[in-house]
C-alpha cells in the first residue's frame, strides 16, 4: 500500500506505534491494574467467605455431633443407673437390656460387664467374652468415669464407638459396666445429613488426626493421618479454623471445628476450584477483558493509523505522483468526521484539480486547435481533390474519357481499386473503367467486378446500389463477408486474391435518376472507410453524375439540333416537291391559258395533278400535325367497338383501287370477324401507312400480303412486302421520328420518316405494339401491328394495365391532353 517514493519508517518511529503505546498506557494499563486487582481481591474475598462458611458448617456439625454424642452418653449413663442393674441376676438384667435395646435404635449392641470385664449379658449373642483389655473399660472401672473408644465392630469389621459406663452399687462402688456400641453409620448419618454441595464433603477426624467418619468408607478403613490438617496430634484444636491443603493434587479449602466432648474434629472441605469457581470466572473475565482491551487498543491504533497515518502517507504519495505529472493518483478515502485531515485532503484535491483543470484546458485548446487544423487540412485536401476531379470532369464532354481520368485520380488518393459503372439505355450496368493501385491487378479487378452478381437483393452489392440509389459503406469486410454472395468457385478465388478490406459503393445520380455507380475499395493499404470517406465519395459521385448527365444532355441537344436540321431539310424538301407540282401545273395552265392553248384535257389533267399534290401536301401537313400532337401529348383517341377484319377489308379494298399494276394485294383474314375496341380512324391510319409504305418501298412491284391473325391474347395485322428491305440497324430506327432507312434515302424514295413514328405512337396508345422484320436489304419487310384482343387499355405508359370497367372502352380512354 505504500505509495511510490514513500520511504518506509521503522515501526518504532511510526505514528501507529506511538498510538498503540499511548493507548496501552492510557487505556489498557489502568484497566489491567483495576481489573486484575479486583479479581485478586474478589478471589481472596471468596476464599475468606467460603472459609467462613465452611467453618460455620463444621461448627454446626460439630455441635450436632456433640449433642448426639451427649444424648448417647446420657442414655448410657441412664442405663447404668437403672434400678437393679447392679444387683440384678443375669437373666433379669438380660431382659431389661433387651427391652432397652429394642427401645433405643441408636445402639447397635448393648452389653453389661462385671468389674473384671467379663461379659454378663448382651443384646446379641456372640462377641468377645471379656473387655478387660479395653482401655475405655479400664478407665471406667478404675476411675469410675464414663469412657469411650473407637473399636472395629466384630462382625462387620467397621468402626464402632464403644461407650463404657461404670455401674455402681448402693455403696457407690464400681461393680461393673454397661457397654453401648454405636455404629459409625449412626454417627455419620448425623454428619452427612446436610449436603455440603459443590463437590465438598464432611468428615470427622479423631483426636489423633485419623479419619473416623468419611463418605468414602475406604478412608475410614485405612484411617489415613490428617493431623497435618492443622489438627494437633493428641490434642484438640482450640477452636474452629480454616486450612487450605492439597489432596491428590487438588487444592482444597477446609473449615474445621472441634467436637467438644469427643475430642474429634469435624472437617468440612471443598475443592478450591468449586470455591473459587466464581473468582476464577471473574479472574478469567478480567483477563478476557484485558485481552479484549488490548485487541481494541490494537484495533484503535490500526484504525487511527488508517484514519491518520495512512491517509497522510497516501496524500504524500499523491503529491509526489502529482509532481511527476500523474494528476489521477488516488487520494486517501476518509470517513466522515475526519476533521483537519479531510480539510487537508480537500485542499490538496482542490489545488490539484485547479492545476489539473488548467492543464486540461490548455491540452483541450491545443487538441481543439490541432483538430481544427487537421479538419482544415483534410477539407483542403478534399477540396483539392474535388477541385482536381471537377477540373477533370469539366475538361471534356466525353464522359467516358473523363470517368477514366477520375478513376485514375481516385485510385491512388481514395482507393486501392476503383470501378465506375454506367447504366445503358436498357438499364444494364456497363463497366466504364476499372483502376487498381497495382497495375498488374487491374485485370483481376475487372474480372471480379464483371462477375458481380446482378441480383439487387444481395446486400451491399452494386446491383442493389443501382436499384435503390442509396450509397453503401462497408467499413470492414470480413473474410466471410467477402464471399457471402458468391457461389462461382472461380469468382471466389479471384475475390480472395483481390482481398477487399473496406468498401464504398455510391450511386451516380443526377436529376433524380441513377446513372451508374462508383465503387471504391481498399485492399493492400488496409484503409478502413468511414463516414468522411463516404461523404467525399458521394460528393465525387455527384460531380461525376452531373458531368455524365451534362455530357449526355449535351449529346442529346446536339442530336436534337441535328434532327431539327434534318427535319427542316427533309420537311422543306418533301413539302417543296408537291408544292413544286402545284406551282408547276398552275404555271403550265396559266401559260397555256395566256397562250390560249389551254386544252380541256390538259386543264383536267393539270387540275387533277394539282389536286393530287395538294392532297399530298395535306397528308404531309397532317403527319406533321400528328407528330406535333404526339409531342404535345395531344393525340386524341376515340375508341369504339369495331370489327378489325371489316376495317382491314375496307382499307385494303380502298387501297387496292389506287394500287398500280405492278403490285398486287393478297389479304388473308384468319380471324373474321375480329371484334375489338379501338379508334377506327387511327387504326385505319396505321393500316394505310403500312400499305402505302409497302407499295412505296417495293418500287419494283410485287406482292403485298396482308394477314390478320390471332396472336398472344390479341390480334396481329401483318403487312408483308418484297421490297428493298431494312438493314438490321434500321429495324428499330425507322420508328423514330425522321428515322429513315439508309437504303431508302439512297434510292431517293421520298418520305419524311414520320409515318412509322406516328404508327408506333398510335399502337402504343392502344396498348399494342408495332415492329418490323426484315431479312436485310432487298429481302423485303414485314410490319406487324399487334393489338390486344381484350377491351382497349389505357393509353398511358402502362400498356399492361387493363380497364375492365363497365363504363365501356370509350370512357376509359383519356381524352384530355396528358
Amino acid at each position: 500500500m505504500s505509495p511510490p517514493g514513500a520511504r518506509p519508517l521503522p515501526f518504532g518511529r511510526t505514528l501507529q506505534a506511538r498510538f498503540l503505546l499511548a493507548l496501552v498506557l492510557i487505556g489498557v494499563l489502568p484497566l489491567a491494574i483495576v481489573g486484575l486487582g479486583v479479581a485478586a481481591l474478589d478471589r481472596q474475598a471468596l476464599i475468606d467467605q467460603s472459609s467462613q462458611e465452611l467453618t460455620g458448617l463444621a461448627r454446626g456439625f460439630a455441635a450436632e455431633l456433640d449433642v448426639h454424642f451427649d444424648d448417647l452418653t446420657s442414655i448410657c449413663r441412664g442405663l447404668a443407673v437403672l434400678p437393679g442393674i447392679a444387683g440384678m441376676d443375669p437373666a433379669a438384667q438380660d431382659a431389661v437390656l433387651k427391652d432397652l435395646f429394642l427401645q433405643y435404635s441408636a445402639f447397635a449392641r448393648l452389653s453389661t460387664f462385671d468389674v473384671t470385664g467379663r461379659r454378663l449379658t448382651s443384646s446379641r449373642a456372640g462377641g468377645p467374652p471379656s473387655v478387660d483389655q479395653l482401655e475405655a473399660f479400664q478407665t471406667a472401672v478404675t476411675r469410675g468415669q464414663q469412657a469411650w473408644e473407637i473399636r472395629p465392630a466384630l462382625s462387620t469389621g467397621r468402626s464402632s464407638l464403644v461407650i463404657i459406663t461404670p455401674i455402681r452399687n448402693a455403696q457407690r462402688e464400681v461393680v461393673g459396666a454397661v457397654g453401648c456400641v454405636v455404629d459409625m453409620e449412626n454417627l455419620s448419618a448425623v454428619v452427612e445429613r446436610v449436603a455440603v454441595g459443590s463437590g465438598g464433603q464432611t468428615f470427622v477426624l479423631d483426636d489423633e488426626g485419623r479419619v473416623l467418619l468419611h463418605p468414602d468408607p475406604r478412608l475410614v478403613q485405612q484411617r489415613p493421618d490428617y493431623s497435618w490438617l492443622g489438627v494437633p496430634r493428641g490434642s484438640r484444636p482450640a477452636g474452629p479454623g480454616t486450612v487450605r491443603y492439597t489432596l491428590d493434587g487438588e487444592p482444597r479449602v477446609a473449615g474445621y471445628a472441634p467436637v467438644g466432648a469427643l475430642g474429634w474434629t469435624v472437617v468440612v472441605e471443598r475443592p478450591e476450584a468449586a470455591v473459587l469457581g466464581a473468582a476464577d470466572r471473574s479472574w478469567g473475565l478480567a483477563l478476557l477483558g484485558l485481552a479484549v482491551s488490548m485487541l481494541l487498543a490494537l484495533i484503535a491504533a490500526v484504525s487511527l493509523a488508517r484514519t491518520l497515518t495512512r491517509p497522510v502517507r497516501e496524500l504524500a504519495g499523491a503529491a509526489e505522483a502529482f509532481g511527476a505529472g500523474d494528476s489521477a493518483a488516488p487520494l486517501p478515502k476518509l470517513p466522515t468526521g475526519s476533521g483537519e485531515l479531510a480539510t487537508l485532503v480537500a485542499a490538496f484535491a482542490a489545488m490539484r484539480d485547479a492545476v489539473a483543470g488548467r492543464e486540461a484546458e490548455r491540452a483541450q485548446l491545443l487538441a481543439r486547435e490541432q483538430a481544427a487544423r487537421g479538419r482544415a487540412e483534410t477539407a483542403e485536401r478534399r477540396f483539392a481533390f474535388l477541385a482536381e476531379a471537377s477540373t477533370l470532369l469539366a475538361s471534356s464532354l466525353d464522359y467516358q474519357f473523363t470517368l477514366t481520368s477520375i478513376a485514375r485520380l481516385v485510385v491512388p488518393q481514395l482507393a486501392d481499386w476503383c470501378a465506375i459503372d454506367l447504366l445503358d439505355e436498357e438499364g444494364v450496368p456497363q463497366l466504364v473503367e476499372v483502376a487498381h493501385a497495382d497495375p498488374t491487378k487491374v485485370e483481376l479487378a475487372r474480372e471480379v467486378h464483371t462477375r458481380l452478381p446482378p441480383r439487387p437483393d444481395a446486400p451491399n452489392s452494386l446491383a442493389r446500389v443501382l436499384a435503390t440509389g442509396k450509397a453503401v459503406l462497408v467499413p470492414n469486410i470480413s473474410p466471410e463477408l467477402q464471399t457471402a454472395n458468391i457461389t462461382d468457385p472461380e469468382h471466389l478465388r479471384l475475390v480472395r486474391e483481390l482481398g477487399p478490406r473496406s468498401l464504398i459503393v455510391v450511386p451516380l445520380r443526377a436529376r433524380d435518376r441513377t446513372l451508374g455507380a462508383l465503387t471504391l475499395a481498399s485492399a493492400g493499404s488496409g484503409r478502413i472507410y468511414g463516414r468522411e470517406d463516404l461523404a467525399l465519395a458521394e460528393d465525387l459521385a455527384g460531380r461525376c453524375a452531373l458531368a455524365v448527365d451534362n455530357a449526355r444532355l449535351y449529346q442529346q441537344a446536339q442530336e436534337a439540333v441535328r434532327a431539327r436540321d434534318e427535319f427542316l431539310s427533309i420537311a422543306s424538301h418533301e413539302l417543296r416537291t408537291p408544292l413544286a407540282g402545284v406551282k408547276g401545273f398552275a404555271q403550265v395552265l396559266q401559260a397555256a391559258q395566256q397562250r390560249g392553248q389551254l386544252q380541256p384535257d390538259q386543264l383536267s389533267r393539270g387540275l387533277r395533278r394539282i389536286d393530287e399534290a395538294s392532297n399530298r401536301l395535306n397528308d404531309l401537313i397532317q403527319d406533321l400535325l400528328d407528330v406535333s400532337r404526339i409531342r404535345m401529348g395531344q393525340l386524341l383517341l376515340r375508341p369504339h367497338p369495331l370489327d378489325l377484319a371489316a376495317l382491314v377489308r375496307e382499307t385494303t379494298s380502298r387501297f387496292s383501287e389506287q394500287l398500280d399494276e405492278q403490285h398486287h394485294l393478297v389479304v388473308d383474314l384468319a380471324v373474321n370477324p375480329c371484334p375489338l375496341v379501338a379508334d377506327a380512324h387511327r387504326i385505319e391510319q396505321i393500316l394505310t401507312n403500312l400499305l402505302e409504305n409497302a407499295a412505296k418501298y417495293s418500287p419494283a412491284g410485287g406482292e403485298i400480303r396482308v394477314r390478320l391473325a390471332a396472336s398472344e391474347g390479341g390480334v396481329v395485322v401483318q403487312v408483308q412486302d418484297t421490297g428493298i428491305g431494312l438493314p438490321p440497324e434500321s429495324v428499330n430506327a425507322v420508328f423514330e421520328p425522321f428515322g429513315r432507312a439508309p437504303n431508302a434515302a439512297r434510292r431517293h424514295i421520298p418520305g419524311m420518316g414520320l409515318g412509322l413514328y406516328i404508327c408506333r405512337e398510335i399502337a402504343q396508345r392502344h396498348g399494342g405494339r408495332i415492329w418490323a422484320d426484315s431479312g436485310g436489304e432487298d429481302q423485303g419487310t414485314t410490319f406487324s401491328l399487334w393489338l390486344p384482343r381484350t377491351e382497349p387499355t389505357t393509353t398511358n405508359a402502362d400498356p399492361g394495365r387493363i380497364d375492365r370497367g363497365s363504363q365501356g372502352a370509350a370512357s376509359s380512354v383519356p381524352t384530355r391532353p396528358v
Binding site: 427391652d99 429394642l102 435404635s105 445402639f107 443384646s123 446379641r124 453409620e185 449412626n186 465438598g200 464433603q201
Partner: protein, 382 residues
C-alpha cells in the same frame, strides 16, 4: 416445597409442562420419595436438553406427604389447581394413592405409581383407568418372595410377618397363596402395628411354630424393629423382606451388624456391572447430586422408577400431541417400545395391564456392611 425440574439450556423457552410428585421426602421413608424425585429430575434434564416435550420444557413439582391419604388427595388437588400438572407420580405409600384414585378419575389425570406395590392401585376396576405402575406389584412381589424363599433359601414353612395395614393384608393373602402353590405353607402368620418397637412376641410365636425362614412385610422403622427383635431373641432365621425397608434409614436404625444378611426385594440396583443406560443414569446422578460412590445412592429403585416413569410419560405426551389427560392416558396404553433403566419396556402398558414391571423384572438384594447389594439370582430364567 417446590423443586423446579431441570430447566436446562437447550429446552424450549415456553411455559413448562409440570409433572407432580406426592411422596414422603423426609422422615424414615424420605429417601424413597427423594430417590423418585431425583430420577424424575434426571429424566427431565435429559429431555429438556433434547428440546423438551411438545416444544416445552418439563418440570417436576413435588409435595412432601407422609402416609396420610387425605393429605395426599389435598396435595394432588393443590398441584392440579396451582401448578396445572399434567400427571401425578406416587411414592411408597400405597394407601395414599388408593385414596387418590377417585380424584385422578374425576380430574382425568394420569397417575404413575413409582414405588408402592399395592395391586389395587392399578387393578382398581375403573374404566377408564388412569393409574399406571412403574414398580413392582404385590401380586408379582408375593410370587417372587415366596419363590425365592422356597426355591433359593430352601424354606418349607416360613413365618410370615406383616403389618396390619391394607398392604399387609394383601401380602399376607398373596404370600399364603403363592407358598401354597409352591408346595410350601406359612408356619404361621403374624401381624404387627406400625411403629411397634418390640416384635419379640410375634417372632417367638413364629419361631415356636417352627418357621424355617422369615418373610416380612414392614416399612423402614418396623423392619429395623423386627431385625433388632431377632437379635435380642438370638434367632437367626433367613430373613426375606418386602422392599419397604429399602426406602430409608434402615441400616442406621437396625445397626449394620444386625441388618447384615437381610434379603430384600428390589426391581433395580446400581451395584455391579450396568447396562449403558444404567451407567449413564448413574453417572448423571453422581454428577448432579454430588455423590461419589454407588453405596451413597439411596433407594436406588426409586431413582430407576422415577427416571423410567417420566420418560414413559414424556413419550405418551409426545405421542398424544397434547397434555390432555384422556389423550395421554390412551397414549400410555399404546406406547412404542422403550429402552429404560430397569428393562426394555415393550410395551410398558397395555389397555388391560397397567403394570410395567412383573416378577421376571425383579431382583433380590441383600444388606451387607450397611449397603444393599445384589444377592445371588439363581433363578426365574434370568
Amino acid at each position: 416445597m417446590l423443586l423446579g425440574g431441570g430447566c436446562v439450556a437447550g429446552a424450549a423457552t415456553s411455559a413448562p409442562i409440570k409433572v407432580g410428585l406426592v411422596a414422603p421426602l423426609s422422615g424414615p421413608s424420605g429417601a424413597s420419595g427423594e430417590a423418585i424425585q431425583r430420577g424424575m429430575l434426571l429424566a427431565a434434564a435429559e429431555l429438556n436438553a433434547a428440546g423438551g416435550v411438545l416444544g416445552r420444557p418439563l418440570a417436576v413439582v413435588a409435595r412432601d406427604v407422609p402416609n396420610d391419604p387425605p393429605a395426599g388427595v389435598a396435595a394432588l388437588r393443590e398441584l392440579v389447581e396451582r401448578e396445572q400438572i399434567v400427571a401425578i407420580f406416587g411414592g411408597i405409600y400405597g394407601p395414599v394413592m388408593l385414596e387418590q384414585l377417585d380424584a385422578v378419575s374425576e380430574l382425568r389425570l394420569p397417575l404413575i405409581d413409582a414405588w408402592s406395590s399395592v395391586p389395587g392401585i392399578t387393578r382398581n376396576g375403573r374404566d377408564p383407568n388412569y393409574a399406571f405402575r412403574v414398580t413392582a406389584s404385590d401380586d408379582d412381589a408375593d410370587e417372587f418372595l415366596a419363590r425365592y424363599t422356597v426355591e433359593v433359601v430352601g424354606a418349607r414353612q416360613p413365618g410370615v410377618l406383616a403389618d396390619t395395614t391394607a398392604w399387609g393384608d394383601a401380602n399376607v393373602a398373596g404370600l399364603t397363596e403363592w407358598l401354597g402353590r409352591l408346595g410350601a405353607r406359612p408356619a404361621d402368620v403374624e401381624r404387627f402395628a406400625q411403629g411397634d418397637h418390640d416384635m419379640r412376641q410375634q417372632l417367638q410365636r413364629l419361631r415356636a411354630a417352627g418357621a424355617d425362614a422369615l418373610i416380612m412385610v414392614p416399612d423402614v422403622a418396623d423392619g429395623a424393629a423386627i431385625v433388632r427383635g431377632l437379635v435380642t431373641l438370638g434367632w437367626q432365621p433367613p430373613v426375606v423382606s418386602h422392599w419397604g425397608i429399602s426406602g430409608g434409614a434402615f441400616v442406621e436404625r437396625a445397626g449394620v451388624e444386625n441388618a447384615a444378611g437381610v434379603l430384600t426385594l428390589q426391581t433395580y440396583s446400581f451395584y455391579g456391572p450396568q447396562a449403558p443406560k444404567g451407567q449413564a443414569v448413574l453417572d448423571a446422578y453422581q454428577k448432579q447430586f454430588g455423590t461419589r460412590r454407588v453405596e451413597k445412592v439411596p433407594a436406588q429403585m426409586g431413582v430407576a422408577h422415577g427416571y423410567d416413569g417420566l420418560h414413559l410419560l414424556a413419550r405418551a405426551l409426545q405421542q398424544a400431541g397434547t397434555t390432555d389427560g384422556p389423550a395421554v392416558r390412551g397414549a400410555l396404553e399404546w406406547l412404542e417400545p422403550y429402552e429404560g433403566v430397569v428393562k426394555r419396556y415393550a410395551p410398558a402398558f397395555t389397555p388391560t395391564d397397567h403394570d410395567a414391571l412383573h416378577a421376571e423384572d425383579y431382583l433380590m438384594a441383600v444388606w451387607q456392611g450397611g449397603r444393599l447389594v445384589p444377592a445371588p439370582q439363581p433363578w426365574i430364567g434370568r
